[in-house]
């Protein structure tokens, strides 16, 4: 059956296919690698420049605690709290109560329109 392999250019196809896969993933690996590099360099320069608010930078990422130990119960409690919170605030609601500040006679209102519009800015 080796004829079938040869007749179909099997070996060169397999070889060059493997080559493409590797080149593709190497490119991706390089991109990540260089991106990391840039990111680290930028961070160093920034750190040398001025001490800025770190909390702002960290964003929503989870801080790893290093050596400090957290009791397991607390971890469970925290994760349940986070689940509940995200459940309440990140799930699309059908309609939503919003209360504005200011004169109440003029401002107690309710709107259901939430679609597709920069809503994240306001909150």
């Amino acid at each position: 059956m080796l004829e079938n392999v040869i007749a179909n250019n099997g070996f060169s196809t397999a070889l060059s296919g493997m080559l493409i896969v590797f080149s593709g993933l190497v490119l991706i690996a390089l991109a990540i690698y260089f991106f990391n590099l840039i990111s680290q360099t930028t961070k160093k320069i920034e750190q040398n420049g001025e001490k800025h608010n770190e909390a702002e930078e960290s964003g929503p990422a989870l801080a790893f605690m290093g050596d400090e130990k957290i009791p397991e119960d607390e971890l469970v409690a925290i994760s349940v709290a986070i689940e509940l919170y995200s459940r309440l605030h990140f799930e699309p609601l059908q309609s939503e109560l919003t209360f504005l500040h200011g004169e109440l006679t003029n401002s107690g209102w309710k709107t259901g329109i939430k679609y597709g519009q920069r809503q994240s800015i306001q909150r």
Partner: protein, 374 residues
């Protein structure tokens, strides 16, 4: 060795054209605006990503892009070109929209009509630049400031321009906070900007239920071409307000809306292949689109001032600008602009009335065009 060359020839690197790079840069800008500036992220993000994917070159013959018969992307794109996605999106939007403000202030409806002058003015402008009737209508609708309406009309009248029209419509909707304030400043004086309006009255459940039924019937009778858009919008709203079909309204307003939004936006993005998109026509569309938004804003503002000549309880002319729709962005722009001059003057709910009326108005305008040009 031949096979290796053949494979290298199939890679995108071998076929990358300057046009593709330009378009990919545009896609990148859209993604940037969506994520960093938070401009219409639900639409600009998938559109931008679609622009990137749609401009990956490949050897012709491979069924990959939206224009290739049988490809996966072409199947998704069929949901756009057949006009199916926009009404489904309107179904979802209807199930999320509260028309209370409009019901409590019927005269605001007229402001939503006045702003549609942007559509017809631009239609004339497009004719002037040499576009055909069907194309001019599709370009004019950009001034309606409703993405789904624009895409729907283009799909019915000028599918070949769908890409640039959709991109223009969404881009300018995202830029509403940039486009509108200068015009507001120009066309109103300080006294007008400080006009306070009476709080809207309470609207009963019965009114909220009857509203979508009446609007759908009237709008469809006056402009049957608006049937698909207004019909679905009001069906969604009825599902919400009836109080007996909550689960239907919820599904229409969440997953159905989201999935249609993703697929429509992504497919529209993919349709902007450089060789199709980078034409002088596209440039014309972008120019006319901007004009369209500006005329619509001016129309709303001036008509509000005109109405004030006859009204005892003056309306704040700023809310006329919200008649362009771009729900709820232009209403928010009005709110912020007014707060600047009187920090206790909350116009948001008042601006919502012309805002949602504008949605109905431009759907009716689209219906008129469909009736004449199909």
């Amino acid at each position: 060795m031949d096979v290796i060359f053949k494979i290298i020839e199939t890679t995108g690197f071998a076929n990358l054209a300057v046009g593709n790079l330009i378009m990919m840069a545009i896609g990148g800008v859209a993604i940037f605006l969506a994520i960093v500036k938070k401009y219409e992220p639900l639409l600009l993000l998938p559109i931008g990503f679609g622009v990137l994917m749609g401009n990956i070159p490949y050897t012709s013959g491979l069924p990959l892009g939206v224009y290739d018969e049988g490809s996966v992307f072409s199947i998704i794109y069929k949901g756009v070109t057949s006009g199916l996605f926009p009404p489904l999106i309107f179904l979802g939007i209807g199930s999320l929209t509260d028309f209370s403000s409009l019901i409590s202030s019927p005269k605001s409806v007229l402001l939503g009509a006045a702003a549609q002058i942007g559509i017809f003015g631009t239609y004339l402008g497009a004719l002037f630049l040499g576009f055909t009737n069907a194309e001019a209508a599709s370009i004019g609708i950009i001034g309606g400031a409703d993405g789904p309406t624009s895409i729907f009309l283009s799909s019915q009248l000028a599918p070949q321009l769908l890409g640039p029209i959709a991109i223009a419509a969404y881009s300018y909707m995202a830029l509403v906070p940039v486009i509108q304030p200068p015009l507001m400043k120009l066309l109103t004086n300080d006294k007008e900007r400080k006009i306070r309006m009476n709080p809207p009255r309470m609207v009963t459940k019965k009114e909220k239920i009857l509203f979508p039924i009446i609007v759908a019937v009237l709008a469809a009778l006056i402009a049957p071409g608006a049937l698909s858009l207004v019909g679905m919008l009001m069906l969604g709203n009825l599902l919400k307000e009836s109080g007996v079909t909550d689960r239907l309204a919820k599904s229409a307003g969440s997953v159905l809306l989201d999935v249609c939004t993703i697929l429509l936006s992504f497919a529209v993005g993919c349709s902007t292949q450089a060789d199709v998109f980078l034409t002088s026509k596209s440039l014309g569309i972008f120019a006319l689109g901007l004009l369209s938004f500006m005329v619509a804003t001016i129309g709303g503002l001036l008509f509000a001032k005109l109405m004030n000549l006859f009204l005892k309880n003056k309306i704040n002319p700023l809310i006329g600008a919200a008649g362009v729709s771009a729900v709820p962005d232009s209403a928010r722009v009005v709110q912020h602009f007014a707060l600047h001059y009187d920090k206790d003057n909350h116009l948001l709910m008042h601006a919502m009335a012309p805002n949602v009326a504008g949605v109905i108005g431009s759907a009716v305008a689209a219906g008129v065009f469909i009736a004449i040009f199909r």
